[in-house]
Amino acid sequence: MSSPRESLLEVRGLGVDYEGRAAVDEVSFEIAPGEVLGLVGESGSGKSTLARALLRLVPVVRGTVSWRGTDLLRIQGAALRRRRRDLQMVFQDPLASLDPRLTVGETLAEPLEIFEPQLGRQARAKRVAEMLERVGLPAAVAGRYPHEFSGGQCQRIGIARAMLPQPQLLVCDEPVSSLDVSIQGQIVNLLSDLQRDLKTAMLFISHNLAVVRHLSDRVMVMYGGRIVETATREDLFAAPLHPYTRALLAAVPDPAAALHASGDPRERARIANEAEARGGCAYRGRCELAQAVCEQAVPVLEPLAAEHAVACHRRAELVYSCRR
């Protein structure tokens, strides 16, 4: 989809291979400044690989990634390091992503030492203290070590580290999925506040749809290394099109649903057959709508409405069944 908006990040035909097999294939999208793009998919769908490819942490074999017009895949050395300041990442495992031998203050000072070497010690300490308070931790925790904190607190520290260089794009890879549901909201609300106040664009990766719905302006759904659906938040949750997106939405465990369910909720998604042959639609083995055509060609992501695109051979039926 082409958009008249200015884009911060523009990805075209991106592909990443692992052992000769495409982990990410034909992925194209944009992120506008200040926009939150949600990325949903199951493990193995390629969503984390995509995030890593954007940050040049895994080699890209096909396609382009441009950042405000410059080719992010071609820059090297000092230019790449400078650019990294603009793209920061928050990881899934909050404790494992912090160095156990460094105090919180040392961990947080590091990005400033690298990206703003002109800052004096005191100025750095001040910035660290301000950021700690901003993420809801007392400045005094700077002298403590990661193991002294709970998972939620470690994730606050991880977010503080990512935000200190004042990035323009924050890539969050499953930032709440290792936390208790009761405190996931704390971290989601913190990210939402930071995003609103600092206008940082975000690529928010999660398999938790309630969390994605909360934060995202737009949502992309990935399956088998490709984008299978992309839509605004409202459209995706109100009128999901791709059979996989529908299965995902139906599978979210929900106390409200448990109360209203009469008898057993059906098992909505079919069991994936891992012996899937190559070629064709990757979802066809689990798809209720699969036909012969789905084995023959990979469906292309095509727009069905403004800002709503889907990759499915049975797109006509999808729209129809969606309108009921």
Partner: protein
């Protein structure tokens, strides 16, 4: 799911006054210990599916690990755990092994670390039956194949020869469930069995646990931090906080009219696509209490919206509301 009410008079598992403490290293220092389980009594009826809900550190896993004698040797355990009337605490390992695996089995969160990496799936499953039910290998392998088919592992004969790393996470969890059923146990304890899985696979595994119960009449204990996961399968839910039971009630009653403010907050925090999107995502503020600190008053008081002076001074006892419900709160919601 049948509508039969749990029968508290015939519990399969009965836990009374269970306490688990750990010494925190300082040898000889009195009172320096961590209370993982402060005082828990609960029962699981024959054929019942009981959900145990609580945050990390609430002691929900510790209760069942202690019950099965699976805790580290520095754990100090008090109380009573009876299975089919037989006391399990203090039982020598050989005697305990006649119950563990055979009558009670456990499914853990991470199926990769629970499976032996260098053994084929079929042999791991069969071994259960050879060890616990003195079956021959031939008979046990036949049984293993049947179980894999029962838990709907596609292409089961081929999977018998696979190694754990060759399977996806969801498939490994199916294998774990098949393994837990090898000796037709009376009770399966599933500790966060879907937390490492994606939502569609999670739904499949929960459906499988429901099937297992229907097919084999097995009692199931499902432990999770996510009330939404538990609500989809449990008939009765026990909510734990800081090593104690704070509320227990039949599932629908607990969700509709939670009496304890902690339960009420947990229901609000459970991710839901059925509710309207709010400006702020609901969550619990603050942290659970430090398990090394002595308990004064209600453990939930610092995070509680209904807190009063009384809560800070006096711990509310777990009080029976009716035959199936209990709550530990000075200011429970009237229903």
């Amino acid at each position: 799911m049948s509508a039969t009410a749990p029968q508290p008079e015939q519990p399969a598992l009965r836990i009374d006054g269970l306490k688990v403490r750990y010494g925190t290293g300082r040898r000889g220092a009195d009172g320096a210990s961590l209370a993982a389980v402060r005082d828990v009594s609960l029962q699981v009826s024959a054929g019942e599916c009981l959900g145990i809900v609580g945050e990390s550190g609430s002691g929900k896993s510790q209760v069942f690990l202690a019950a099965l004698g699976l805790l580290a040797s520095n754990a100090r355990i008090e109380g009573s755990v009876r299975f089919d009337g037989e006391e399990l605490l203090g039982l020598p390992a050989a005697a305990l092994n006649r119950t563990r695996g055979a009558k009670v089995s456990m499914v853990f969160q991470d199926p990769m670390t629970s499976l032996t990496p260098h053994m084929r799936i079929g042999a791991q499953l069969a071994e259960m039956r050879v060890h616990h039910a003195s079956a021959t290998w031939r008979e046990a392998e036949r049984r293993a194949l049947e179980m894999l088919e029962r838990v709907r592992v596609p292409d089961a004969p081929r999977r018998m020869r696979a190694y754990p790393h060759e399977l996806s996470g969801g498939m490994r969890q199916r294998v774990m469930i098949a393994m837990s059923l090898m000796c037709e146990p009376r009770l399966v304890i599933a500790d966060e069995p879907t937390s490492a899985l994606d939502v569609t696979v999670q739904a499949q595994i929960l459906a499988l646990l429901r099937d297992v119960r229907a097919q084999f009449g097995t009692s199931i204990v499902l432990i999770s931090h996510d009330l939404g996961v538990v609500a989809g399968i449990a008939e009765r839910i026990v909510v734990m906080y800081s090593g104690r039971v704070v509320e227990s009630a039949p599932m629908r009653e607990l969700l509709r009219t939670p009496r304890h403010p902690y339960t009420a907050l947990l229901t609000e925090c459970a991710p839901s696509l059925h509710r309207a999107r709010l400006d702020r995502m609901p969550c619990l503020k603050g942290q659970p209490p430090d398990p090394t600190e002595p308990e004064i008053g209600c453990a939930f008081a610092p995070r509680c919206p209904r807190v009063s002076d009384r809560c800070r001074e006096q711990r509310p006892p777990l009080t029976r509301i009716d035959e199936l419900s209990q709550v530990a709160c000075h200011h429970p919601h009237a229903t």
